[in-house]
């Protein structure tokens, strides 16, 4: 078996595409003007920014003036949540609803608000990693300021019932924000039709560079300014525009949303081949619903082994992937997402996430399927936990 290099961690980040890089390059050395300047060099930069804004708006069914560029998805999440909190606290609304398995950009923000007098309801998720919209309905109160629920989970890839949740929020007159960082480019999004008030997105997950994101804010909703200073982003988020990055995001999101159905028709069978074959190994489980999940997401737990070891072994075989083990989360606890769907600590430690795209070939899939059983066997052979499992002893 010839060693290959396979990047199967596209949910972590993606390479800047050729198309995006080409579009960005002129704005470093030639079109370097400040978009606020009056002369042609500046006006051209401003045109490029506005052109990108149109592209982002079109990709998610918004109007250009509803798009505000940020430095990343986390910034967009912070702005949406803290901005809404500040806005509605004045009206006595100090209750926010979110879920237990949001990205830390949301969870750490709500935890911060909890310390500042807000009350947060954390909606549990099912063992399949799905939120029940009825739970949201029941949690909404008179003083609920915001519901913030991720579009798709970053670890287990489950796609949430966003339309139903948005409809409930609209009916109850509660603002609805969604972190769509993992969803954009993989599922069709139309913020107006879906009734979404705010949506966060990020460039580097869809082949733009790192350090650029955007927040969609429905017109009529006036959030407090995020950065005070100049008049950029209609005065709401000051700071000289990162023109090349913004241009890149525009091109990237246009490309990512151009042919979602065709792309997924290629990715989903390959992903299912990965899932079905890996699950043939004993003591494995798929994390997250198989159907309501992002097209390229595979998340499987292997009992008896630990995730970081698995990642290192895969890396030695040229495969880049990620895990929700404690060792990769930087704490003693494994991923909060895996715990939220009911996994025991010891099972969550042995999880693997592969996130593939349409450039992951059939040969790549076959290679991954050749490598995984070998490295899992290698690690299980040296695992005292596996030994006990095979002897039918308890190991907790």
């Amino acid at each position: 078996m010839e060693k290959r290099f396979i990047y199967a961690d596209n949910a972590a980040t993606t390479a800047v595409s050729e198309e995006v890089l080409e579009a960005m390059l002129p704005y470093f050395r030639e079109g370097y003007g400040n978009a606020s300047s009056i002369y042609k060099l500046g006006r051209d930069a401003q045109k490029a920014v506005e052109n990108a804004r149109e592209k982002v708006a079109k990709a998610i069914g918004a109007e250009p003036r509803e798009i505000f560029f940020t430095s990343c998805g986390s910034e967009a999440d912070n702005w949406a949540i803290k901005g809404t909190a500040e806005l509605l606290a004045k009206k006595g609304k100090k209750h926010i609803i979110t879920s237990v398995f949001e990205h830390h950009a949301v969870l750490h923000t709500t935890e911060y608000l909890e310390k500042h007098g807000f009350e947060i309801t954390y909606i549990p998720v099912s063992d399949k990693g799905l939120i029940n919209p009825d739970d949201i309905r029941k949690a909404i109160r008179e003083d609920t300021a915001l519901v913030t629920i991720m579009y798709a989970n970053n670890e287990i890839g489950t796609i949430q019932p966003i339309n139903e949740i948005a409809a409930i929020c609209n009916e109850k007159g509660v603002l609805f924000h969604t972190d769509a960082v993992q969803a954009v480019g993989h599922v069709d999004i139309d913020v107006h039709k879906q009734g979404i008030d705010m949506l966060s997105l990020s460039g580097h997950k869809i082949h733009a560079q790192k350090g650029i994101g955007a927040l969609y804010i429905r017109k009529g909703l006036i959030l407090p300014n995020l950065i005070h200073g100049g008049g950029q982003e209609r005065g709401k988020r000051a700071g000289t525009e990162n023109v090349p990055a913004i241009v890149g995001l525009g091109v990237a999101i246009e490309a990512a949303t151009r042919n979602i159905i065709e792309k997924n028709a290629v990715i989903v069978p390959r992903r299912n081949k990965l899932i079905d074959n890996i699950l043939k190994l004993p003591y494995t489980r798929l994390n997250g619903d198989k159907d309501k999940r992002l097209p390229g997401n595979v998340n499987i737990s292997f009992e008896g082994i630990e995730g970081e070891s698995l990642l290192l072994m895969l890396d030695m075989n040229g495969i880049c992937a990620s895990s929700g083990s404690a060792c990769t989360s930087g704490s003693l606890d494994p991923s909060h997402v895996l715990l939220s769907i009911g996994l025991k600590h010891e099972v969550a430690h042995g999880s693997l996430r592969l996130s593939i795209e349409d450039d992951t070939t059939d040969e790549d899939v076959d290679y991954i399927l050749e490598v995984i059983p070998k490295v899992v066997k290698h690690l299980r052979d040296m695992s005292p936990v596996w030994e006990k499992m095979m002897k039918g002893e308890k190991y907790e």
Binding site: E306, E308, S309, M313, C327, H345, M382, V385, Y395
Partner: protein, 139 residues
Amino acid sequence: MLYSEKVLDHFSNPRNVGEIEDADGIGEIGNAKCGDIMKMYLKIDDNTITDVKFKTFGCGAAVATSSMATELIKGKSINDALKLTNEAVVEALDGLPAVKIHCSVLAEQAVRAALSDYYTRQGIDPVPIVGEIKEPEEE
């Protein structure tokens, strides 16, 4: 996570992996909940560790520190093995990331746990010789 070449070497080609059927001392330390378990098997003849094997469930550093610990005590006297410190394991591996130092402590404790079991089997109270075995603390 920046691992030294030595750590990666011991992780990818761990020394002394396995079990000893008729071991004279077996020590196990850690728990699966925290993500690290080390099991150490010793064969002892005339106060000398003639053979040592290990099994580890854990991260790259856990595997590498167990592997290195077995190398450092194999062929040594019990007294030398009792002097093994986690610092010595770290040094032999050309260092460990700060968050992984606890793995080297586990390796040291696994050796001590196996020696403790050896003394217990001999009908000797291990505590005055080996000391108390420290289970990893939950942070």
